[in-house]
Subunit: 425 residues, 2 copies
Amino acid sequence: MRRVSIGLLGLGQIGSEVYRVISRKRSLFQKRYDVRFDITKILVKNTKKKRFKSLDSKLLTSKPSDVLKDPSIDLVIELVGGVALAKKFVLEAFRNGKDVVTANKALLAEEGESIYKEAKKLGRQIFFEASVGGGIPVIKSLREGLAANHIHSILGIINGTSNYILTQMSQHGVDFDVALQEAQAKGYAELDPTFDIEGVDAAHKIAILARYSFEQKIPFKSVDCEGIKHISQHDIDFAKRFGYSIKLLAIAKKQKDGIEARVQPTLLPNNHILAKVDGSFNAILFEGDEVGEVLLYGKGAGPEPTASAVLSDVIDWAKGIRSNLPRTSKSQVKVKSISSILSRYYLRFSVIDKPGTLSYISGILGKHNVSISNVIQTEKKSGTTVPLILLTYKGHEADIRTAVKKIDSNRSVIREKTRVIRIES
Amino acid sequence: MRRVSIGLLGLGQIGSEVYRVISRKRSLFQKRYDVRFDITKILVKNTKKKRFKSLDSKLLTSKPSDVLKDPSIDLVIELVGGVALAKKFVLEAFRNGKDVVTANKALLAEEGESIYKEAKKLGRQIFFEASVGGGIPVIKSLREGLAANHIHSILGIINGTSNYILTQMSQHGVDFDVALQEAQAKGYAELDPTFDIEGVDAAHKIAILARYSFEQKIPFKSVDCEGIKHISQHDIDFAKRFGYSIKLLAIAKKQKDGIEARVQPTLLPNNHILAKVDGSFNAILFEGDEVGEVLLYGKGAGPEPTASAVLSDVIDWAKGIRSNLPRTSKSQVKVKSISSILSRYYLRFSVIDKPGTLSYISGILGKHNVSISNVIQTEKKSGTTVPLILLTYKGHEADIRTAVKKIDSNRSVIREKTRVIRIES
């Protein structure tokens, strides 16, 4: 039987759960995989802090080198989070001949290239199943399960907090602020929810998936990122009237003329499988050239699902399954700027109701090559502000933006900034 | 670069697609995985038959030993289907030192134990991703992605034909026979659709999944199997009125007192994620102790998705990832007989409408410890037959059967055999 000595960096919620599962299932893993796992050192900030009962406090240290330079440690699990320090630790682990398992999406999205480069140079491996989609085997599926495919597109609901908030708004008619507070009370959202609701967390994850799937570098700043905080109950209601749900979608598509990579609130037709993913669940829809559509769905966060993913990497490592660094194929295409994409759009104008408004707005859209597919204009009280909702056929983002900017600048027609939400079908 | 010489047994739709993908993507696989795959022999019944253009007909043979005994062949892909002959070929391959990739669910469900035993004895491997769920990485997820979990339950929509038929019946109000003809016209259903519509195909697949997940032998005959051919438009309509969809579900659950393994038409609440899986799509919902619910969804059949799965196995094999034979843990529990399960039920009685009927029926159910949760009794015309639909709380299958048998035997009350459909929540 093989013995694997593991060094743990960080003992927060996920680290604690990883520790507990390894303790609780040690004999199961021995039987199943013929490997005995032992966590032999744990890096924490404060070794005196009171923690959970089953913890062997002799394992704690506040000196990184106690883990990173210990020659008896075979594998390092990085769960400190953040970018700069985590990067330092991972590179240090590589240089000391240790492979790494991490759950750190920010690290890989922002500093992945230098990490992969160093791993390649030193012949080291880095596993990161837990960085996307909690316990859902997303990376494993890309790396192995769909190994015979070219992946053309990825659509993901990969931020549970945002999906919980949008689901609450849609199902219970509550406002964004109320839904956010609920999410915080339930532990789905952080005290500072900025990364979640502004789409940064989802952007980190889609950058990792696109990097792996499309076999080319995806500079994190090239991922256009828009969160859900401007989505109102109005938008959700009007979307419903057209047969759509609003979801925070992470999108990556490889096309001949470039790669699209972005996070955005999106109108999805109600019969789309992703429109049915509610609450704090995550789902990732891959489209491969052989397999067609494959959807993976589950809890995208939380200590137990994330520990499940971390341990699947640890077990893979012990079985000799290699992490395979993301490849960089020779045929590279540029990541498109957001202004160059083609999409359908939902436009909610706040118009001052008077004769000729619809004609004026549709005229400007028409001049910019934007055709209208659906219209809702609600009951009119002359002289007041009313919402005018248009769905468009496919148009260029740049055209839409120019047209809407022009319309919005006419203060005798428009009362508030027009809400623009892309439609995915 | 490694070279892998592959022998193909069978050149039907799936075999042909495997051949074409290996030809078309040879250089991609070389670049990605540093392996060159060559199909060097193909067993067919008729070497003279005209096939697709890109085929090198010199590779064809009608002698099994040309593939199985060729020492230059490293790996055998078994796609002949059926049980007896396939078993013979697989064992022969093992004995000649060759590992096997197969898509054959009947073989593994019915003869898996002797195959696994022989593989173990000879130190050989057998990969079978393509046997369940087409291109969806189901086996891979169980074997590796969810490796840290105890799997408690599996619910699957794993027969695309049945799901297509039920979806057509539900969405377009067509009858079973019409929907079946459509499925045949679209190529979803075989000319002889018995295995699909009677649930045998789904039973094969759930037997394989339960065997792997629960780490114990599942005799195929212990999997209770009921198909969809008795489902009528009435049942679908009444289910809708209660907020349910009817799906052909494959179910496997591990409980303290035994394993449940069965295939059945099932009422699923509309907000259940599996209720949203429509058309010919498949989906498998695992429940693991760490990860919670994980759903995998995609095309469950067809040459391209199935070839994608076969090739993922071939690539795994070439990378040195082992197939891991299903384990047999020491703590075995019996597979429960269907009469011992607990479930909620939908009961559709065809009653002769007269006073006291509801009281009579509910009285007998009550005496057998079956409590009623919902009732629909439609408009009455005295003396004619009307449907009476009851949903029950959880009750014992044996009690339900006894009660319904007793009710059905009273020909002064009941006109037709009562329809009993289980409810999963």
